[in-house]
Structures are given as structure tokens and as C-alpha cells.
């Protein structure tokens, strides 16, 4: 009797070569019309990494050491959210400084141009691993045009809007909040930069500009620094930030 080859249980996609252009989960192949098990388990593992990133903590000791070559004073601050569980359910507390921190901010108030805040957000690991390199690219640009910088602030259990209270308290004209973004599956270590002209408590999203996906395989630290620098200069020139301030840097290049 003629022996027949069993039908393939998994069908591969012939456009595998396109994977070189993106980290997206393309050309997964299929079992029937469903995702094959191997790819399913890869997804599950990535989700496990992201879940772990959400529960990571700022490593202040490491960060202080890593940014010490920049020679800027540094403040260690904390929000009113006592722990991660509370942080996840009470974003309002993550936007407010605790008593010790708000006193510290008052003590360091001094009319400056720009205040940079490093916040854990939803991935402290992103800040632990990459904030120093981003600052190494950004700070020289800012110093090059003589912006006066406030102390660098490290904010634990913090959300974006905590930057408003910090920068306002420090009397800075502009805030740059570098925060660990919500982890995705292929990137659990991405930094977002939120830029606000004349920050003060009570501002909402339309007052800010955002540069997102700052990480090694995303928007590089060098390009991110240039983009942030461009937006800061535009904001000071036009005396505003937010939806009215467009990133036209791309137009200037062409």
C-alpha cells in the first residue's frame, strides 16, 4: 500500500523576510486559522516579562551613580502612593508629592529654565536602564544654549502630572518628565518624555507634548534628545506647549 505523507499541522507564511523591517509579530504562520503554539508561548513569555516590569522598582542608588558625571544636583522624591498596588488603583496619589518631598522641593526653589524629572511610571526598569544615556545626550544640548537647569528629580511611584507640582515648586519655566512607559510585549523598557511649558498643578494632557518609545530599538537616545531639544526651543520661542505646538522638525529636514 502506498504510504502517504501526513498533512502539515502548521502552515508557514512565505513572507518571513519582512520580519527584518519590524518587531511586530508578522508572518506567524497558522494552525488552521489560529496562531501556532510555539508563537503562542513566545507571546505568553513576553506578557510575563511585562507583568514583572510593572512591579519593578526605581534603583536610586544606581541612578545617582549613573548620572553623577553630568554634575547636577539631585533630589529624591516620592509620591503619595505608598506602594505599587495603591499606585495602580489610585493615580491621583501618584500625581502628588508626599509631605517630605514637597518640603524638599520648596527648599530648592530657585528661578530656573528647565526641570528634568525621572519618574518610574509603569516601568521603573526603563528608567534604571536608559535614563542616564538619554540625559548624556540631552543635557549638553541644553547647556549649549545656556538654559539654567533645576536639580534633577527622581520621583518614585510617580505619574506624569507629578512633574507639574515639582517644576512649579522649584520655580522652573519648563518641565521634562522622563517616565517609564506602560510595558508592551516587545518593549518593557521604553521611556516617554512629557514636555510642559510653564507647568503648574492642574494642567491636563492638551498642555503637553510627548515624545514616546524612547529605547534602544525604538526612537534612539540621540534622536530623542534632539527632538526634545527642538520642542523645548520651539516652546520657549512660541511661549506655549501642547496641541498648538507641532513637531515640524520633519518638515525642516525635507
Amino acid at each position: 500500500m502506498e504510504k502517504r505523507e501526513p498533512a502539515a499541522v502548521k502552515i508557514n507564511d512565505p513572507w518571513n523576510s519582512l520580519k527584518q523591517f519590524t518587531d511586530a509579530r508578522i508572518a506567524l504562520g497558522r494552525a488552521g486559522s489560529s496562531i501556532p503554539l510555539k508563537q503562542e508561548l513566545e507571546f505568553k513569555l513576553a506578557h510575563a516579562h511585562a507583568r514583572d516590569a510593572v512591579y519593578s522598582l526605581l534603583n536610586n542608588e544606581h541612578l545617582i551613580k549613573a548620572i553623577s558625571p553630568l554634575d547636577l544636583p539631585l533630589l529624591q522624591l516620592h509620591s503619595q502612593a505608598g506602594n505599587r498596588q495603591q499606585y495602580l488603583q489610585r493615580p491621583d496619589l501618584g500625581r502628588l508629592l508626599d509631605n517630605t518631598s514637597s518640603q524638599l522641593v520648596k527648599d530648592y526653589a530657585n528661578a530656573n529654565d528647565i526641570c528634568i524629572i525621572l519618574a518610574d511610571g509603569l516601568s521603573a526598569g526603563a528608567i534604571n536602564d536608559h535614563a542616564a544615556e538619554l540625559l548624556e545626550n540631552l543635557i549638553p544640548l541644553l547647556k549649549g544654549v545656556n538654559y539654567k537647569l533645576s536639580p534633577i528629580c527622581l520621583a518614585g511611584q510617580a505619574r506624569v502630572a507629578i512633574g507639574d507640582e515639582i517644576a512649579y515648586g522649584l520655580q522652573a519655566k519648563f518641565s521634562v518628565v522622563l517616565i517609564g512607559e506602560r510595558p508592551g510585549l516587545s518593549a518593557a523598557d521604553s521611556i516617554g518624555a512629557y514636555l510642559t511649558y510653564y507647568p503648574k498643578p492642574g494642567l491636563t494632557d492638551e498642555s503637553r507634548n510627548c515624545v514616546s518609545n524612547i529605547r534602544k530599538q525604538g526612537l534612539s537616545f540621540h534622536l530623542a534628545a534632539e527632538k526634545i531639544f527642538y520642542l523645548i526651543q520651539e516652546a520657549f520661542k512660541r511661549k506655549l506647549s501642547g496641541v498648538e505646538l507641532k513637531d515640524n522638525a520633519g518638515l525642516l529636514d525635507s
Binding site: W15, L18, T22, A24, R25, I26, S34, P91, N213
Partner: protein
């Protein structure tokens, strides 16, 4: 006006309509965060019993946010059609729930009723409904919209192909577009969330999709989901804008936080209509919403997040949108904590939207800080397929590498079409068959299109 109900000598008092609505809402973290939810299970049911006795007419006389201070309240009241309201004018909220489930209340009846229903009535009745009620009534509604194809016909399920890339790299985006098209995705729209809202960047992406669409004669539409002011600017500079996108919410103050208002939406709607690019129809707007946005913007006025969400639908329906997408699990666990809350919210949004006459789709999604996983999304996906959801997202392997969240994959849509016998938009289905991507039964086939697309795009 105050309401009250007594259970075993315990008197439950509700200060006004919005308090009653909030306390009658099935539990979710967002309402707890806002400090407006019921304090106990008993209080919640007391509120539901009380709400069931509230006449629908009350919603026309008592607003949850003052008419004088909120343009969306004004829109709701001023656009209410009292003639369309007549068939239900004599009902209480509870009777309305029973009436909706009647056999006689069919799709045609609901279609004629829509401008007689206010968002608050829809939200109120949904609070008295179980998940199966929300599914059963939504399934009766057929909301059909057209641009270059026909979306929302009964028995059809469309997908938004969402080929996002963290740096908007055109080749990266093109790779995901090809992957999606070859899996039969993209009949609702090929829609990119740009990483940065730069007009030059958005223009490049619009040109990229438009070229592919024309080269391969794909009966679908494109959209780059930039801020409305960016889109207006691009329309004025001659960009190929099919659909105008905007995130909207149910209070004026929330929309202000999004940098948008009704006058701006009017302007964008007129500008997009004037391009006249639709071939099958002229539904040119694409809106996204989601429970919790008003609380997030600190602009909820003490109104529960589901009622705020329903109010956003009155904004949407003013502009005859092609697509309305509730991005239900994106906002995070402080608003919808886990799979149970996300599923309930999605069914509420889909029901309220459909009842108000909107072409509802759902971004069936979760973030990595929510207590949810793929199994929860499978449940919701299947429920929404049964409920007749117009469209869902299609993302390579469920993983959006730009927005950092998980939604439905191209494979998920194929699963749903297969188990429920659903088909793509008719024009798009014909295209898939003609290109050899699927056979007549929707089964994926080997196609020569891949080579041609790769040659064209790379």
C-alpha cells in the same frame, strides 16, 4: 430631585439623578476612584430598583451636567426628537428594559427610535441589564455605513488593520500592512496611530497607504489617527485624507482636555466631506472613545464613567461617522480593573452605541498592568461576535508594538468569522477572493499577491 428606597428599614437616599445612576452601576474601579459608587451590594441593588421606577421623561427634565455650562448637554437636549420618543414616552426605565427585549421590538423599530433616546436613557437602562440582555438587544440593531465599502451589515464582521510602528518607519508599517491584508484584514480601515503627531510624518503615512490602496485597487479606506487640528491642516495642504479621526468624550471639559470642541469638529467634518473621496458613501468620521476618560481628565462632574461614555456617543452621531471604536481596556486598571470589568464595559458600550444609532466597533484590549489576559479577550471577542459588533482591530499577533497594549490579532478575526459564520464587508470579500487571498468560504489560500506587494513596497 432626590430619590430613595427602603430595604429592611434601611433607607437608601440618592441626592439626584446622577447619584442614582452612579450607585446603580455594576462595580468598576473607576467609579470607586471617583468616590461615587455604591457602598455595598445592597445599596447598588436599591439604586437599581429605584432607577427602574424612574420615568424615561425624567431624563429630559433633569440633566446630569447643567445645560448652561456644557455644550454636550445642550447638544443632547436640543437634538432630542420628541416624535421619535413617542413609542417609549410612557415607559419607566425598567419597563424600557422589558420593552427592548420584546419580540416586537425589532431592528426597524429601534432604528426609528434612536433620535428619541438620549445617552442618559441608554446608560440608565443598560445598568438594569445583564450581559445577555446587552447582547440580545444590540444584536437586533443593524447600523450600516459606507465609504469605499459597506460596513455593519448583519452577518458581517470587519476589521481595522492597525499596522503601527514605534518610529513610524514606512517599511515597518508596510510589512504589517502586507501581513494583515494577506490574512484578510483591513475592510473597516487601514488605520495607523502615528508615534509622533508631526504633519510631515502624518503626510508620509497617508501617502504610503493611499498608494498601496490605489496600486492594488483595495476597496477600503485609510486613516492616520492624528489630532484633528493636524488633520485639518493636512486637508488644507492637499493630503489624501479619507477619514478624519478624533478621540472624543462625553463632557465639554474632557473634550477641552483633548483640545477639541463641537465647533472644531464641525469644521473638520465639513473639510473632510468637501474632499468627496468616498465612492459608496460619505461617512467620513472615525471616532474613538472609552470609559474613564472624563475621570482621567478630572472632568466628570460626579457622573459615572459609563454615563459619560454614552454621552460621547451623542457627539459622535452628530457627524454620521463611518466607525466608532470604544477602546475599552486601554485606559488601565484604575478604571476597569480586570477581565470581568472590561467585558461588562465593552458590552455596555456596544449596546449603548448601537441603540443610539452608531456603527460600533470595539478595541478588545488590555494593558499589562490590568488583571487580564488572552483568555479574557477570547471571551469578549466571542460575545461581541454574537452581539453583532461592526468591527474589531487586527494587529499582528495581538501585540501593538507602538501603543504597548494587546488587542485582537488577524487570526482572532478569522477565528470569529469561522465559528460564527461571519464574513468581511462584501466589496472587500470580493477583492479577497479575486486576489486569491481567501476562497469563497473565507478559507485562506495561497496567493500571488504577496510577491507583487513586496515588489511594490520594498
Amino acid at each position: 430631585m432626590a430619590y430613595q428606597h427602603t430595604i429592611h428599614q434601611q433607607v437608601y437616599r440618592f441626592n439626584d439623578l446622577k447619584d442614582l445612576l452612579a450607585k446603580a452601576t455594576p462595580f468598576r474601579t473607576g467609579d470607586a476612584l471617583a468616590g461615587i459608587c455604591a457602598a455595598s451590594y445592597e445599596e447598588r441593588v436599591a439604586a437599581q430598583i429605584t432607577l427602574a421606577d424612574v420615568p424615561l421623561k425624567t431624563f429630559l427634565n433633569e440633566t446630569v451636567i447643567p445645560y448652561e455650562t456644557d455644550e454636550i448637554t445642550r447638544l443632547i437636549i436640543d437634538s432630542h426628537n420628541s416624535q421619535a420618543f413617542q413609542p417609549i414616552a410612557h415607559l419607566t426605565t425598567g419597563e424600557f428594559r422589558d420593552w427592548l427585549l420584546n419580540e416586537e421590538t425589532d431592528g426597524l423599530v429601534l432604528q426609528q427610535l434612536k433620535m428619541g433616546i438620549t445617552p442618559e436613557m441608554a446608560a440608565a437602562v443598560s445598568k438594569l441589564m445583564r450581559n445577555q440582555d446587552l447582547i440580545a438587544v444590540a444584536k437586533k440593531c443593524e447600523v450600516v455605513t459606507c465609504f469605499r465599502n459597506t460596513i455593519g451589515l448583519k452577518g458581517h464582521l470587519s476589521t481595522r488593520l492597525q499596522p503601527n510602528h514605534p518610529t513610524d518607519d514606512p517599511k515597518g508599517i508596510a510589512a504589517s500592512i502586507i501581513d494583515g491584508l494577506l490574512y484578510g484584514s483591513g475592510d473597516a480601515v487601514i488605520g495607523i496611530n502615528p508615534a509622533t503627531d508631526s504633519p510631515a510624518g502624518v503626510m508620509n503615512l497617508l501617502n504610503l497607504i493611499d498608494t498601496v490602496r490605489q496600486q492594488f485597487d483595495i476597496p477600503t479606506q485609510s486613516c492616520v489617527l492624528s489630532h484633528i487640528t493636524t488633520t485639518i491642516g493636512l486637508i488644507n495642504s492637499g493630503a489624501p485624507v479619507d477619514l478624519c479621526f478624533q478621540s472624543i468624550a462625553g463632557t465639554q471639559q474632557t473634550n477641552t482636555s483633548f483640545g477639541v470642541n463641537l465647533a472644531l469638529l464641525d469644521e473638520a467634518y465639513d473639510a473632510t466631506l468637501s474632499l468627496n473621496r468616498g465612492t459608496k458613501g460619505n461617512n467620513v468620521m472615525y471616532f474613538e472613545t472609552g470609559q474613564g476618560s472624563s475621570l482621567s481628565a478630572n472632568a466628570h462632574h460626579g457622573v459615572d464613567q459609563q454615563t459619560c461614555e454614552a454621552r460621547a456617543y451623542s457627539v459622535a452621531r452628530k457627524y454620521n461617522p463611518l466607525l466608532v471604536n470604544t477602546v475599552v481596556g486601554f485606559i488601565g486598571p484604575e478604571y476597569l480593573y480586570d477581565g470581568k470589568q472590561i467585558i461588562r464595559a465593552a458590552l455596555e458600550d456596544h449596546f449603548c452605541g448601537k441603540l443610539l444609532g452608531l456603527p460600533m466597533g470595539v478595541d478588545i484590549c488590555y494593558t499589562n498592568h490590568a488583571e487580564a489576559d488572552q483568555d479574557d479577550m477570547d471571551n469578549l471577542l466571542t460575545l461581541l461576535g454574537v452581539a453583532g459588533c461592526n468591527f474589531i482591530m487586527g494587529i499582528p499577533g495581538s501585540d501593538d508594538i507602538m501603543l504597548n497594549y494587546q488587542s485582537t490579532s488577524f487570526h482572532d478575526a478569522l477565528y470569529l468569522r469561522k465559528v460564527l459564520g461571519l464574513r468581511p464587508a462584501p466589496e472587500f470579500e470580493q477583492w479577497l477572493i479575486k486576489q486569491g487571498i481567501t476562497d469563497e468560504k473565507g478559507k485562506l489560500a495561497q496567493t500571488q499577491l504577496m510577491t507583487r506587494m513586496i515588489d511594490h513596497l520594498f
